[in-house]
Symmetry: C2
Amino acid sequence: MSSETAERTAGHHVCGHHSGLDCQHCQARHLSVCNALEPEDFDDLNRFGRTLNYAPKSTLFEQDETADNVLNLTEGAVRLYKLLPDGRRQVVGFALPGDFLGLAMSARNVFSADALTHVTVCQFSRTGFSDLLDRKPKLLRRLHDIASHELSLAQDQMVILGRRTAEEKIAAFLIGMRSRWAKINGASVHVPLPMTRQDIGDFLGLTVETVSRMLTRFAREKAIVIVPDGVRLLDVDRMERLAAS
Amino acid sequence: MSSETAERTAGHHVCGHHSGLDCQHCQARHLSVCNALEPEDFDDLNRFGRTLNYAPKSTLFEQDETADNVLNLTEGAVRLYKLLPDGRRQVVGFALPGDFLGLAMSARNVFSADALTHVTVCQFSRTGFSDLLDRKPKLLRRLHDIASHELSLAQDQMVILGRRTAEEKIAAFLIGMRSRWAKINGASVHVPLPMTRQDIGDFLGLTVETVSRMLTRFAREKAIVIVPDGVRLLDVDRMERLAAS
DNA sequence: CGTCCACTTGACAATCGTCAATAGCAGTGG
DNA sequence: CCACTGCTATTGACGATTGTCAAGTGGACG
């Protein structure tokens, strides 16, 4: 592991980095865009990207800032959110290892992102990456498939936000997080929740209080157990029925 | 105009078609994916796609059906929606001329689509189109940019669904439709609304009644005028303030 | 002219939000 | 070591926005 580990908790920038990557040994490779590349192409990426570390609560980038870089998350969890002028907040997603940040490829960030845990990313200049896409159609194709899939997930989230009750929203959220962690760590009834109740509420269009109430209700009814930094699913069937698309 | 106009209102299939397109004279070309192609590439498309017409209320395709085709809308308006097992419905979008249907490129449709007005589309086989993408990186790049933009819009819709009041939702919807029509017909205070109040409600996570009440309230307060098949915006400023970011 | 829908409007209900108090927990520094 | 601070989570009482139910209007079309 050749990346430095020094970090800053304040500010919103670099927290230890070195030039160059080590894609061959990347834990998150099979989950990432990079998977589209041939071994020989990795040299390109290795030279042109860099590894960065972020401390919990630090900012990766902010909405409306000029978007100089795109990122690929290799470790940790990130909260992606939009703010309304009056301070209301909508979390549009949580990024986990393997997730690509910067799909919009727009000149300015369309949302803010900050670290929920310690986070490691591969960073590439946006314009450089865009050029790379034009040279490597396979990479572009992979990125497009990822974007299409994200779009589909966003539409699922619309259903959750627009047409589901608080109870169903929480169930759908837990089932969703479970299946995302399954791709990373393998299936388990233990669902890590690195985000706060407030974050969950802002993701589901609920208040903290409602999130808390629903979770304690599920716990009281023995559908889940609340554990430090997550939940354990006892009645997966019930949760899946509530979440049922 | 060489496409036939015979239509069926029932069923969910073809309603008059002929093989081959006429991309050069397509009204919606500058709005569409196809814009990425060189003149000589159009021959490919012309041979390989076909024009279809659909009557109002007819079905273009249904959720979970095998997705044999992708479509590019050239005329009319289409409602895209997902159904929950118990009949609740979430409209995930309204397609207008220039819009591409089938971004997900998945084997099965992720939502249903039906015509709100008379509709004309260019149809391509999904696998054929997918192959074409691999042969024409420029087309792929354009499609990716469209998908990325759609993703960004979907995230905006999440904010509307999760964190806005009924009043703000309606305002945001009207302003949004206005700017979409502007790209097609040029800017105007007249906003055509080919969908029902129920559709608007299912798009915004509201009931018909709430939609109706908000629209009549805006009308009573002289912010809009309700006209057949749409509204006319009187107080654009107020609407934009309510819809703000 | 009558039927069918979409739309509107009103009365009432309920889910979920607001406000407030308290508990729990981690980190900090005397 | 422990009090102090600040943040997150929980819980309760109350309120309001929005949904539900019901009735009625009006326009389109056969």
